[in-house]
Symmetry: C2
Subunit: 145 residues, 2 copies
């Protein structure tokens, strides 16, 4: 569904959000350990999330990654997915046609429309806040072990 980079990005953002609620900045080492991802690759993805204004970075000693507490409820899953994978997953054609619409649909257009809209709605209404809360409450996990 999503690229590996996007999976790591989502998990990282959730972990950062959880820590930001506790007033704690985190670094790529902690993050990659907590989400079970390759550290350097994860650091690249974090850079990208910073450039897309999903998370903040603070350079230098005592720095790290964080998200402003107040903005966490307003950050949507769609923003993270968009920052890393773009919007083709919930906007593009299921069969990869460059133009696929009501006037010129691919054979699965109608079938996919519903799925794609559901996915888009879900991504656009799911906030980082609820995901971080799932984690904090111990109702969800970012890795298997």
């Amino acid at each position: 569904m999503f690229s590996k980079a996007c999976e790591y990005g989502i998990k990282a953002a959730i972990f950062i959000a959880k820590n930001s609620y506790e007033g704690k900045r985190v670094n790529p080492k902690e993050i990659s350990e907590e989400i079970n991802s390759p550290q350097a690759f994860t650091a690249k993805i974090l850079q990208s999330l910073v450039r897309h204004n999903v998370i903040n970075s603070v350079k230098g000693a005592y720095g790290g990654f964080e998200i402003e507490k107040d903005s966490i409820p307003y950050i949507k899953l769609s923003q993270i997915v968009n920052a890393i994978d773009g919007d083709s997953i919930y906007k593009g054609c299921g069969l990869g046609l460059e133009t696929c619409n009501e006037e010129h649909p691919c054979p699965v257009h109608d079938k996919f429309k519903e799925i794609r809209n559901n996915l888009r709605d879900m991504l656009e209404t799911t906030t980082l806040e609820e995901l971080a809360l799932n984690l904090k409450n111990g109702n969800a996990f970012l890795k298997v072990i």
Copy 2:
């Protein structure tokens, strides 16, 4: 959503089905022209669909690819996707956790469950017959130009 290979495979299967209804076998050249895909790569994907019993191949002169007319209504989109991409798209975890279930869910587990189930239902109930019909009726297209 799907790999390129899977997109090509679905389109190829639809085109083959349409032609099989007309009693016509088709070869990779025609197919790749009709679905706008690289020919040799498409041929590989066709081989895979043959091995997975989604389509039939007839070797030698006057051969080509076909699908038994009577079986077209019973071939599900899920079989094609499964043959090429496997089932992870509608069975795997949205964040890539190896084990993700009610007891040990990822933070987006519940959100994804619905999407995934919708997708699975759609793939398992959509038949090659209806897709080929969309094409035959001129209500859908396999390429842009």
